[in-house]
Structures are given as structure tokens and as C-alpha cells.
């Protein structure tokens, strides 16, 4: 069946050079039948014709837009041009990898804040907090966007750019905010605390609320990033006091807060709310980093493993059950962000040297850096994984752009494998003008990629910006 289709599609036109290609993919759902051998195609074809060809071979009802990678480069022109540019003979059999096309993310909306936006997170039917609670009413879940701002407020937005709920409680800038579950939010702040909030969505008449439920004390300096894992009710926090906190989101499970860090010990700090909120301490503090921790994340597959990136150039792997450091990988630069790519077992870290280093944390890995993604012009402070693909990620940087990367698109250089960004998302507030020096005024502080909402990023321009690929 497949062979007959092949012949009809690639009926050789006279006087056209043809090239033998071997199609393969790493995605199981769009894999070709086993017996599909090398196919002769005209070198005139471009991405679209190849995509149609593969879709016909796959006999899909709805065509899947596909992109084609040859030798780690995306096919952007005709095959003929590609072969000429790369000096490949048309007589060789090309190994062509096809991947689901990444639609360029287009600007959708911006949500205006009063101050810089330091953190964003998304609640949607396909987002992690909803997937964690398996018995949830999944598809009926509305899309919500959580933002933390430098004015100390948490805000929950609906998709029509209205604030549903505001969380007031932090006495200083909020540095991180995450949904744990559709009803629970965790945030951390410069005021050294982590707060858990109960989120009630807007009902028919009443507005939504964010009610503080728990205050977690234990850090001695600003808590810059948090990572949450709902099924094990664990929270990891990255603080500037060189420690990582491991916390429980359950009030009963958490130990009492240490006395010396409680605000009551310091008479100078006034408590804003009279209603007392329960205060708890950390399950454990992970010591080992020599400098402040920039970012933490859980292992996507195993929630008892955590990873941390620090300014002291290291990525540490933590066993959270024993609170022990398992492995340390030292890079050449200070690290500002980390993200776990579970399928390829890599850790993406954003560095002060303005690139993203992919680190293999497994003990068997011989080299520290598996790959380098270059293109940003300032420090990379936020990373998020593509929810639909295990090979793509988005990064937010202080240069005022978010960049989308595909780790399959790499080229080998002298010392390293280097990748380039697939798409660049500029800040809408800075559109039209040239990028300011040092990303002044348009720095991106946080980025989040959701399957339903798209790429959400917040930054120095007081805005949460949503970009979405139109068909994905």
C-alpha cells in the first residue's frame, strides 16, 4: 500500500534531479510503517510538499503540519537549495527526520500590572496542576493565569484580561508564584517567606479570592524561585541564603517554624494582617551550594529527585527523601535558571554567559555540557518546557526576548554542539523600536508554556504577555 502511494506521489518528472531520502521520526504517534524504505523525491520539493507526502503516507484524516530536519538543520528552502548550501551530493541517501511543525507563536494579549511582573503561571485543563489531580473535572476547568508582581501582590487573571483575585500578604516583592492545584497557590517573596494560598475561582456572583492558608518560614534571605509537586505535596524553594528549602504544602505534615526567623522575633516588622495565619517551618534545608540558589526544579518522572542551579556555577542533584546531594556538575558560568527535559534526560540551564547549557545529570554522562543553545544577548533567567513536545523549550531572558528552541536542531562546532533558536518572541511593549541596551525596560523575568494558553511571559514592562501558536 505504502509503496504504491509512493510511486503515485513521486512520479518522476523528466529532467528533474531526484534524491533518495529516508524518513524517520522520534515521535511514535506519527511514525511511518516499518516497510517504508528510502523514497525518491525531486529536489525541487519544499517543506510543504514533503509534509503532504508524509501525511499521505501516514493516511491521516487531518493533515499534521510537519517540519523536516536534515543533519540537525530545519529545511527552510527547497531540497535543492539545502543540498547546494551544505555541499551534499544528491546521490546520497538523506536521513530526514520529520517533526511536528512548530507554529510561530503570535501575540495574543498583554495584561497590564502596576509594577514589574516577576512570576507567571498558568492553570488550564492541560496544565500540570490539573493533570496531577486525576479525578478533577478536567475539560471544564477554565483557563487562569497567575502573576506575581514586584508590588507584593499575587493576581489571578482570566483569559479576558480581568483580575479575578488578588492575594495580598507579602510584605515585599513577590519573586515566584505557582499553582499547586486548581485551588491552591504557592508564592515566595523577597520577605523570605513562602505562602500558600487557597484560590477560589469566581462564582456566578462573587469575585474570586486568594486566601492565605499557610506561611512557611525558614529562609534567611529572599526566596527567589519555588517548584511544587502536588501528588507528594512537596515544595522546593531556592533562596539567596545559599540553601534550598524542602517544604510540605500540608499544614499537618509541616514542622513548626523555627523561632529565630519568625517575624515576631523582630519587633521592627509589623504584621499587616491581624488574622493569624498558621506558620510552619521547612521539612529540611539542603545545604551545599556556595552561593545563592537561582532556580530549583523537580525531576519530571521522579518527584523524590530535585535539581538546583546556583550562582556558584554548579547544578546539584538532590535526593529529597534523604536531603542529600547526590551529584554536582560544575559549569563555567553562573546559572540563573533550570528546567528538566525528562524525555531526553537533560537539564536545561540558563547562564550568565547569555546561553542555555544542556546538562546531562546522569552519572553515566561523561561531559558536563551536552549542548549549548546560543542567541540570547543577556542572562537567561527563565526556562519552560513545551508541553506538547519533549524537544522544545522556551527561554526568557533579560534581553527582552523569549526564544523557542528545538534541541534536535543542533550543529556540531569545535568543542560543543550548538543550537539556534527557532523563534524569537519580542516584547509587545517594545515593538517597533530597536531593542534597548541591556534589555532595559523590557526584561523578561518569567516564562511559562501551556498547551492551551500558549507562551506566557512577564517582565519589566509591567505586563504579562501571551503568545500562542494559532493551531497548536
Amino acid at each position: 500500500m505504502a509503496t504504491t502511494t509512493t510511486e503515485t506521489v513521486t512520479a518522476p518528472a523528466p529532467r528533474q534531479t531526484q534524491v533518495r531520502i529516508h524518513l524517520h521520526t522520534r515521535s511514535d504517534d506519527i511514525e511511518l510503517p516499518q516497510d517504508t524504505g528510502p523514497i525518491l523525491v525531486s529536489t525541487e520539493v519544499k517543506r510543504y510538499q514533503l509534509s503532504t507526502l508524509v501525511n499521505r503516507l501516514l493516511e491521516t484524516e487531518k493533515p499534521v503540519p510537519l517540519e523536516f530536519l536534515i543533519n540537525g538543520q530545519f529545511l527552510r528552502s527547497s531540497l535543492d537549495d539545502f543540498l547546494t548550501q551544505n555541499g551534499i551530493s544528491a546521490e546520497t541517501t538523506l536521513r530526514v527526520e520529520y517533526v511536528r511543525a512548530l507554529i510561530p507563536p503570535l501575540y495574543v494579549a498583554s495584561y497590564e500590572h502596576d509594577d514589574w511582573v516577576s512570576a507567571v503561571d498558568v492553570l488550564s485543563p492541560s496544565s500540570k496542576p490539573v493533570r496531577w489531580m486525576r479525578n478533577a473535572e478536567g475539560p471544564a476547568m477554565p483557563q487562569r493565569i497567575l502573576s506575581g508582581s514586584y508590588d507584593g501582590l499575587l493576581r489571578v487573571w482570566n483569559t479576558s484580561s480581568e483580575v479575578i483575585a488578588t492575594g495580598q500578604g507579602h510584605t515585599a516583592s513577590v519573586k515566584a508564584a505557582k499553582f499547586i492545584s486548581p485551588t491552591q497557590v504557592v508564592s515566595s517573596s523577597v520577605d523570605r517567606t513562602i505562602r500558600l494560598w487557597k484560590f477560589e475561582d469566581a462564582a456566578a456572583e462573587s469575585a474570586g479570592t486568594l486566601t492565605p492558608t499557610l506561611e512557611l518560614f525558614g529562609h534567611k534571605a529572599s526566596v527567589d524561585r519555588i517548584a511544587a509537586h502536588a501528588p507528594s505535596s512537596r515544595i522546593l524553594s531556592a533562596s539567596a541564603d545559599h540553601t534550598i528549602g524542602l517544604w510540605s504544602s500540608k499544614k499537618a505534615e509541616a514542622p513548626a517554624a523555627p523561632e529565630e526567623v519568625l517575624p515576631s522575633a523582630n519587633k521592627r516588622r509589623k504584621l499587616s494582617n491581624t488574622k493569624t495565619v498558621p506558620q510552619r517551618g521547612p521539612l529540611s534545608q539542603l545545604l551545599g551550594h556556595q552561593s545563592q540558589i537561582a532556580d530549583v526544579c523537580f525531576d519530571e518522572k521522579d518527584a523524590t529527585v530535585g535539581y538546583s542551579a546556583s550562582w556558584d556555577h554548579t547544578v546539584k542533584t538532590w535526593d529529597l527523601t534523604t536531603s542529600a546531594c547526590v551529584d554536582t556538575r560544575t559549569t563555567a558560568q553562573s546559572l540563573f535558571s533550570i528546567c528538566h527535559l525528562s524525555e531526553s534526560s537533560l537539564l536545561a540551564t540558563g547562564t550568565s554567559a547569555r546561553h542555555i547549557t544542556l546538562i546531562d545529570p546522569r552519572a553515566s554522562a561523561t561531559t558536563v555540557s551536552a549542548m549549548t543553545l546560543r542567541g540570547h544577548t543577556n542572562v537567561v533567567v527563565s526556562l519552560a518546557k513545551d508541553p506538547n513536545s519533549s524537544y522544545q523549550l522556551v527561554s526568557g531572558s533579560h534581553d527582552g526576548t523569549c526564544r523557542v528552541w528545538d534541541i534536535r536542531s543542533v550543529r556540531a562546532e569545535a568543542m560543543d554542539r550548538v543550537g539556534d533558536s527557532v523563534y524569537v518572541i519580542e516584547r509587545n511593549s517594545a515593538s517597533g523600536g530597536s531593542r534597548p541596551a541591556a534589555g532595559e525596560g523590557v526584561k523578561v523575568f518569567s516564562v511559562c508554556w501551556d498547551a492551551d494558553v500558549g507562551i506566557v511571559s512577564g517582565g519589566e514592562d509591567n505586563q504579562v504577555q501571551i503568545n500562542k501558536s494559532t493551531t497548536s
Binding site: 523570605r192 534567611k220 541591556a438
Partner: protein
């Protein structure tokens, strides 16, 4: 014989028939009268045939000889003596007195003949009216006489235009023969040939280079300079752009021959065979020879050293990473100049002080202002410095005559650090009484104390300013001892030289003025990181004092006219000095009193210089030209190896405001990040 007298009767034969002795007819021919039109023109009328004998032999005979026919020539009748006498008296016309030897008669010459003879003797033309230079008679030329004599008016036959097949065949035969070697196209010239040719030549040639031997490359042998190779212009068929247009041609022709840049005009010929002979060939060759002969060729002594080898072997900057390359953050907020900045010891924040009298603390990764306090309305903040040590969080700021001790609020420092800092600041109040009483007893009750340690106003206290040290001079620089108990302030003022330099003890709230008599205007000072040494920079000198023995250990002479700042390497053996006269000086304290290296890369005054405090081999300077320069300066503990200094990067970005550029530079305590304070009111972080 009857002479033929009748000319008209031509029919008559000129002979007569007689009968000879045998009876046969005999033809006797008559005398031929040589008339004008007869064939015989030169025969004399009656030529005597006696030959060359004297006539006197015939005196005895009546005749004087014989004519051609053998007849006697009768003696001309001689007149009688009377006749002769008469003749002599009456000389007839034309009488010469000469006797014609041919006829024996008196030679008579006519007047015309005499005239001719006279002319001949005078070397004149003999004939009268004879024109020696007659006009040419144009028989065949001239007007109306032109003759058109075409050989043929037929059109040229075609064979004249097409190559001859026959010749072609013959040539090809020859070519084939040459190729096969049957014909040698030319015989190689032998020496005999050459000699013969020379012998054949009509004039002698002397080839002065004939026996020239290739000389070895002797230093004094100057070979003739080579002629430049011909260019497109010299081509017989140059590209059109090389052909002169009309104006150029005219200009060239008008120019004087001496002024012409080239002595020919490029000309286009469709084929090489159409190129005419070059008229200037001999002249050019001659001039070339003349040039070679006359032009003095001077041997210049050339330094035969590879310039690359003179450069010091410096490592490539890309191998010396990390170092700051780009501006990563711009912190805006100060009004007016930012005069000073300092990274906190943990490396999380940066403090800056400026002309607006505020001290601000920035989160330098985001550029967010974390905290600020206004210390004074009109006085600028001249210096900020953090107390060394990770256990405390104390910022000192010099504003006016005051030195403020600040514990920044707003959750910037952990609570335990804050508590420890408060303890340190309060510890001195117990000691405060002793020095004041001492100064009173020394110089009378009225003398005001050189320094006062006090609590600031309550508004400042609520902002975290917990202690204020008031001096009587304006300190412009402040540097801490690494233990965090001593610090030195320097007030560059001409009025109070004795109190210009002060060393304070924080734990005792005490102030000392160690240099009562200081030569020069003190600029800045710093402590040695490990040894009890104190570095004091005056305007032109740097003095190193031993604090324990209280004596001057060394005086460095950087040679700068006005020192702006100094920075000591964390190992303590190398000192960087920046000066307002655009120079950056590297002093190796082990090497001597003069600078080991002078770096002169800036175009304006250098305001500040800083070594990396955390062990990276980096230093940076800040200049009024709005740029910072980052250098790699590796100091090795090996005493025999000199420090290597490699310029790495010029960091530009600060705007120059009223001739002021970058005023201060500082390094992150661990990373290769530096910060700069600019006159444009920004603090920039470079990563």
C-alpha cells in the same frame, strides 16, 4: 673621276663601268662628296695621310703628301715675297700668323671663333646665349599632360583574399616535417656563426654584459631595479576603460613632454600584426640605460627582524574567559552623577552613592532598586563601602563631613546578620568617653574633637542609619581593613593636612591621625590584605607605612602627575595606580619604586581602578572618556616570573556628561562581573 656635282640627279649611279685588263667589267666608284646630310660626317675634306712626319721632308716635291685615294696633295701655291710682304702689311681679317698643320695654310680664325677662344680662356661659357640651366621641358608631365596608365581596372580576384590552398599544403608539409623532425626549423647558432655575424656587421658592437657572471649576494651588489611589468595600458588591444577619451587625449597632447605621467597613449589595434613600429623604442631603451648608469643606487640598511617576533607573546583574549563583555543591567534612579559604588560581600547587591545625597542599593541582576536612603539634601555621597566579612551587613557612606554606618532595611540582610551588625555598631559606645577626655587634657577644654561618634537623627535611624561619625573635613575615600574593625578615611584638603588621613577603630569609636606632617595632598589610602602595611597615595607619590613599627617603609614613584585611585592586588604584592593624566600604572612592589608597566590606552583621565577581589586575574579601570577597560592581569607567586597584562575588552555605554564619564568601578566578590558608576546617573553591570 668626275665628282658628282648634280645633287638633284639622284638616279644616276655613282660609279662608272670600265673594262679591266682581262676584259671584264670594272666598277669605278665616284668620289663621295661628304655633304651635310651624308653619312660620313667626320672625314676631313682632304686629309693628308703622310702621318706624323715633318712636312719639311716634302720640300723637294711639289706635293706635300697624299690623300686617302693616293693622289698627291698639291703644295698650296706660295705667294711671291712681295705678296707676302703685302700680305703682312695688309693683314686680312682673321689672320693669326699660325699655319694650320693639317693644311699648311695660314690659319685664319673668324671673329666668332676668336670670341669663343677668348671666352674659353676666361672660363666662360663659349657659346653666346647658351643657358646652362635651362627649364625642364615637360614632355610627359604637367598640366594637361597627365597620363592615366592603369594596368588593369579589373576587380581584384578572389584568390587574392583567400588563403592559397597550395601554399597551405606546402606549409602543412613543412609543419609536418618540422614536427617529425625531418626539418630543423633553425640550426642552433654556434660560436662560429656568431663570430661570422659579428664579422659581417659593418660596425663594432660591444656587449658589456656578455661576460657578466652572476655575482654572489654581496651586500654591496645593488641589482638594477626591475622595470614594472606592463599593464593593461601597454596592451595593443587594451580594455576600453583604459583607452583615453577625447579630453584625456587632448590633455595629454597639450601637456609638456616632461610633465606627462606616461610617455605614450594607449591605443587600440584590432590585431597584433596591425601594431606599427614603436617610434620611442630606441629612445626608451637609451633612457633606461641612462637611468641605470646615472641614478645612484643607495643601499639602505634594513632591519631584518620579523615584526611579529618583537611583540610579546600574549594569550588570546578568548582563552582568558570569563571576563565581562556586555552590559547586562542598567540601574537608573540617581539624580545627577553616581560617584561611587560597592558590591556587598555576599555578592547579592550593589550599593551606590551619588550627587543627590542618596545611597541606593540595587538588585543588580534585575536592576531593581531594593532600598535607598537620603543622607543629605545638598552634600553628595562621596564614598560607599561595605564592611568586609560575610557575617555582617554594614554599609558605610561618606556624605559631607559625616561617615554614616547603615544597616539596610527591607529584608536585605538576614536577621542574624542584622543582629550581629547592630551589636558591632553599638559596641563602641562603651569606649566613647575615654578618647574625648584625653584630647581635652592634651590641648585645653575648648578644642573641639577631631571626630564625633554619635547616633544620627531618628528619621535616619528609622531608615537604618545607626551610627554617624562626624569629621571636621570632608572625607572623599574610605577603605576598610579586612578584619572589619579599622577603616581609613582620606580627606584631600589643603587646609587641614594634619587631619587629612584618619584611621578609625569601629569597636572603640576611636579616631587617629597618624600623619601629622604629610608631604603632598593625600588622595586615597588602603590597607594591605595580610601584612600590617598601609598604602597612602598623595598627589604624586605612594607611601607605604608599616603600622606596627610606625615607620615609612617605601615610597613609590609612579611618575603620575595626579593620582586618582589605587587598588591593591588581593595577594598584596602588586599595586595599580590610576592617574588623571590618562595613565594606568602597574607597580610590582618586589621590583622597585618605579612602575613595572604603564598602560596608556585611555583618551581622557582615568578615575578609578579596581582589581578583582575574588581571585580572578582581572582588573578594570574607569575613565572620563565614558569607557571602562578590562584587563587580564595574572600575578604568579613565582618571583622570577613577571605578571602578564593582556587588554581584554573596552566596555562602552556610559554617556559623557560635562567632560565626566565613568567615575567608579567595582568587581563582584566572586564572579567576573563588574559594575561602573557613571556621570550620566546610571550604574551599569557588565557580565
Amino acid at each position: 673621276m668626275v665628282p658628282l656635282e648634280d645633287d638633284d640627279d639622284e638616279d644616276r649611279p655613282n660609279y662608272t663601268v670600265t673594262t679591266d685588263a682581262n676584259g671584264n667589267p670594272r666598277y669605278v666608284y665616284g668620289e663621295i662628296e661628304p655633304v651635310y646630310d651624308s653619312d660620313d660626317s667626320d672625314a676631313p675634306a682632304n686629309a693628308n695621310t703622310i702621318g706624323n712626319i715633318p712636312l719639311s721632308y716634302y720640300d723637294a716635291y711639289p706635293h706635300i703628301g697624299y690623300d686617302i685615294n693616293g693622289r698627291r696633295i698639291a703644295r698650296p701655291a706660295k705667294g711671291e715675297a712681295l705678296d707676302s710682304l703685302l700680305d703682312s702689311i695688309d693683314i686680312p681679317e682673321g689672320w693669326t700668323g699660325l699655319t694650320d698643320p693639317a693644311t699648311g695654310k695660314p690659319l685664319q680664325l673668324s671673329a666668332e671663333e676668336l670670341q669663343v677662344l677668348k671666352k674659353l680662356t676666361q672660363n666662360d661659357m663659349p657659346g653666346d646665349g647658351y643657358d646652362p640651366y635651362p627649364d625642364m621641358v615637360e614632355y610627359f608631365t604637367g598640366k594637361g599632360m597627365e597620363e592615366v596608365m592603369p594596368l588593369s581596372a579589373a576587380p581584384e580576384p578572389k584568390r587574392r583574399f583567400v588563403p592559397s590552398m597550395h601554399e597551405h599544403r606546402r606549409v602543412m608539409k613543412m609543419v609536418k616535417a618540422i614536427k617529425e623532425g625531418r626539418i630543423q626549423p633553425y640550426r642552433p647558432r654556434t660560436d662560429e656563426d656568431r663570430e661570422r655575424e659579428e664579422a659581417e656587421q659593418e660596425y663594432a658592437t660591444y656587449d658589456v654584459w656578455a661576460n657578466e657572471q652572476p655575482r654572489p649576494d654581496h651586500p654591496m651588489n645593488v641589482p638594477a631595479p626591475k622595470l614594472p611589468p606592463p599593464g593593461y595600458e601597454e596592451s595593443y588591444h587594451p580594455p576600453p576603460e583604459y583607452l583615453p577619451d577625447k579630453d584625456e587625449k587632448e590633455a595629454w597632447e597639450e601637456q609638456d613632454e616632461e610633465d606627462r605621467t606616461r610617455d605614450f597613449l594607449p591605443q587600440d589595434h584590432s590585431a597584433l600584426r596591425k601594431v606599427p613600429g614603436y617610434a620611442q623604442f630606441v629612445k626608451e631603451k637609451f633612457e633606461r640605460c641612462l637611468d641605470l648608469y646615472l641614478a645612484p643606487r643607495v643601499r639602505r640598511s634594513k632591519l631584518n627582524i620579523d615584526p611579529e617576533s618583537l611583540l610579546p607573546k600574549l594569550p588570546d583574549p578568548s582563552e582568558l574567559k570569563p571576563f565581562p563583555t556586555t552590559c547586562s543591567t542598567i540601574c537608573r534612579g540617581h539624580q545627577g552623577k553616581v560617584r561611587t559604588l560597592a558590591f556587598d560581600p555576599t555578592g547579592r547587591f550593589i550599593a551606590s552613592g551619588g550627587d543627590d545625597g542618596t545611597v541606593r542599593i540595587w538588585d543588580f541582576t534585575t536592576g531593581r532598586q531594593a532600598w535607598s536612603v537620603k543622607l543629605s539634601k545638598d552634600e553628595p555621597v562621596n564614598a560607599v563601602a561595605w564592611r568586609p566579612g560575610n557575617d555582617t551587613c554594614i554599609l558605610t557612606a561618606c556624605c559631607g563631613e559625616n561617615v554614616h554606618f547603615i544597616i539596610p532595611q527591607g529584608e536585605l540582610c538576614p536577621p542574624d546578620q542584622e543582629a550581629r551588625s547592630r551589636e558591632i555598631l553599638d559596641a563602641g559606645f562603651g569606649h566613647a568617653a575615654a578618647p574625648t577626655t584625653a584630647s581635652k587634657t592634651a590641648s585645653g577644654a575648648t578644642k573641639p574633637s577631631a571626630s564625633t561618634w554619635s547616633r544620627p537623627s531618628s528619621t535616619l535611624q528609622s531608615h537604618g542609619v545607626l551610627l554617624t561619625l562626624t569629621l571636621r573635613t570632608t572625607p572623599k575615600s574610605l577603605s576598610w581593613h579586612r578584619r572589619g574593625d579599622y577603616f581609613a578615611t582620606v580627606s584631600p584638603s589643603t587646609t587641614s593636612i594634619s587631619t587629612a588621613v584618619a584611621i578609625h577603630t569601629l569597636s572603640k569609636h576611636a579616631t587617629q591621625h597618624p600623619f601629622r606632617r604629610l608631604k603632598g595632598l593625600a588622595q586615597t589610602a588602603c590597607f594591605h590584605p595580610t601584612r600590617p602595611l598601609f598604602f597612602l597615595a598623595t598627589r604624586q607619590r605612594i607611601r607605604i607605612y608599616d603600622l606596627q613599627q610606625q615607620k615609612l617603609e617605601k615610597e613609590l614613584q609612579p611618575g603620575a602627575r595626579w593620582i586618582s585611585g589605587i587598588s591593591l592586588h588581593p595577594l598584596g604584592s602588586n599595586l595599580l595606580v590610576s592617574s588623571y593624566d590618562k595613565r594606568l600604572l602597574w607597580h610590582d612592589l618586589d621590583l622597585g619604586l618605579t612602575p613595572y608597566k604603564t598602560l596608556r590606552y585611555h583618551s581622557k583621565a582615568i578615575r578609578d581602578v579596581a582589581f578583582h577581589p575574588g581571585g580572578l586575574p582581572l582588573f578594570a579601570d574607569a575613565s572620563d572618556d565614558g569607557s571602562l577597560q578590562v584587563f587580564h592581569g595574572k600575578v604568579v607567586s613565582d618571583e622570577f616570573e613577571n605578571a602578564t597584562v593582556v587588554p581584554l575588552k573596552v566596555l562602552r555605554g556610559h554617556r559623557v556628561v560635562r567632560e565626566l564619564g565613568v567615575l567608579s568601578v567595582g568587581w563582584h566578590p566572586r564572579e567576573a562581573w563588574c559594575a561602573s558608576a557613571g556621570a550620566d546617573g546610571t550604574v551599569r553591570i557588565w557580565m
